[in-house]
């Protein structure tokens, strides 16, 4: 059992493919070669580093250590949510809104899965907790960033329509009802689609990894199903929370549209 180890030479063969593509991009003047090489280097360095961290973490499975790592993951994801938005809410509250929604949904769902569904002893066993939280955070981050971007952008473009509805005496919730729905839908549709396509079009990465690592396909499949459900719930509740809070932030106590809370980046 166990996975066949890869040598540095094996990886450099695969890296050769990326270099070939970078050359191709240079010939075609796509202007992507620099970003491609930097991203490939980042993947290598970041993953090697996290490998070292996980090795230490797995050797000393203490709760504070696991918690600290998960907080770092959350902070990075929170920064990423802000960076991916064309117009984001200014200042600390904008950051808190995205990060807070991610925290509430991802951590609650992860805790539920670890403590009740998988029920290891201790429940925070890092071999389970860290990859699970990582997958949850990554997907929730995508969903929240996508939906918040959609909401603020459509509100910016349709501000006259929203104000017209306010002028006719609609409440702020009535006036942005459709925009809010569209934003929530755009955050949730990717995970719904990937649930529908799982196994037919793509073999999910985690399952592939487990099978390569020597697990039986049926064990790997069951874990993948669990993960899919968790990601769906985590993303969905995260998106609902983030959009609800964002909507509240975009109107003041007199139900006036306050687009000046947004800043363009």
């Amino acid at each position: 059992m166990g996975v066949k180890p890869l040598s540095a030479f094996d990886l450099s063969l695969a890296a050769g493919l990326v270099v070939a593509l970078a050359l191709c991009s240079w010939r075609l003047r796509l202007g992507l070669e620099k970003r491609m090489v930097i991203s490939a280097l980042r993947t290598t360095v970041q993953l090697l580093l996290i490998g070292q961290v996980l090795r230490v973490l797995f050797a000393h499975a203490s709760f504070p250590f696991v918690f600290a790592i998960s907080m770092v993951m959350l902070m990075v994801a929170g920064r990423e949510v802000g960076a991916r938005q064309h117009r984001r809410i200014k200042g600390f509250s904008g950051w808190l809104l995205g990060t807070g929604s991610m925290f509430v949904s991802s951590f609650a769902v992860a805790f539920f899965a670890l403590a009740i569904v998988i029920a290891n002893d201790p429940w925070y066993t890092p071999q389970y907790a860290i990859p699970l939280l990582g997958m949850l955070l990554g997907n929730t981050m995508n969903g929240i960033a996508l939906s918040m971007d959609r909401l603020t952008e459509s509100l910016w473009q349709q501000r006259r329509m929203v104000e017209q509805r306010l002028l006719l005496g609609q409440t702020s919730l009535e006036a942005i009802h459709e925009l809010r729905q569209q934003a929530m839908r755009s955050g949730m549709i990717p995970i719904i689609n990937s649930m529908a396509a799982a196994g037919l079009v793509s073999l999910p990465g985690m399952m592939t990894g487990q099978i390569l690592g020597g697990s039986s396909p049926m064990d790997a499949v069951k874990y993948q199903i669990l993960i899919m459900f968790l990601i769906c719930a985590g993303t969905g509740f995260g998106v609902v929370t983030a959009i609800t809070l964002t909507c509240r932030k975009l109107f003041d106590d007199r139900q006036r549209l306050r687009l000046e809370v947004l800043q363009k980046q």
Binding site: M161, L166, L167, L168, G169
Partner: protein, 204 residues
């Protein structure tokens, strides 16, 4: 009855504005483009942050939810917005609109089913007036209500709005670039200078 009272209204770097419009009275407002006439209307309808007191008789704006205030004191923006495909979906109940109002603005009942995307600017403007009146507002803030209309339709709108003000004893604040129009509809008239301050118009 139904007096609109504006007291020490300030917003941004403008004001204070203090004036009152009696029920059934129409106050004309003129002024250069960019002087801030629309901003004043937006503040009165509580769509922009402001200080000072806004009252409809003894009903204080700050004492009621903003949507309720905006139904009582309605603003007609210079350019109307529509968000559904069909005209009647923007109304609570299109059939309840008096036929006579429709006719006055040059429409028949069949307009209910028209596609919004095929309306002209002028048609949108006239329908926006009917849409606003459906809330039975107690005061009207009109931002160049006839800017996009031809002579005949302009007359219809002037008559309908003036009559609404008189029969419902509603105060009207009527912004227009056309002094002749204000001569016809307004009981008195204010002029907004470039710095935003108000002075009485000469002539009326």
């Amino acid at each position: 009855m139904s007096q609109l009272i504006i007291e020490n209204l300030r917003f941004r770097d403008r004001g204070p504005y203090s004036f009152a419009i009696a029920g059934g009275e129409c106050l004309g407002l003129q002024g250069a483009s960019g002087a801030g006439k629309t901003l004043l209307l937006r503040a009165i309808v509580d769509l922009d942050p402001h200080q000072g007191s806004l009252r409809l008789d003894d009903l204080e704006c700050d004492r009621m939810p903003a949507p309720q205030w905006r139904k009582k004191v309605s603003m007609l923006p210079a350019e109307s917005c529509w968000w559904r495909d069909v005209v009647e979906d923007h109304f609570h109940d299109f059939n309840a609109i008096p036929q006579e109002h429709l006719a006055r603005l040059g429409f028949g009942p069949e307009v209910a089913g028209w596609q919004v995307s095929r309306l002209s600017t002028g048609e949108k403007q006239r329908l926006a007036i009917l849409r606003m009146l459906e809330n039975r507002p107690q005061a009207l803030l009109l931002d160049e209500p006839t800017a996009s209309l031809d002579r005949a339709n302009s007359n219809g709108v002037e008559q309908l709005l003036s009559e609404y003000g008189r029969t419902n004893n509603a105060p009207l604040l009527w912004v227009s670039h056309d002094p002749d129009q204000l001569d016809r509809v307004a009981d008195r008239c204010l002029f907004m200078q470039v710095d935003g301050s108000l002075k009485p118009c000469g002539g009326i």
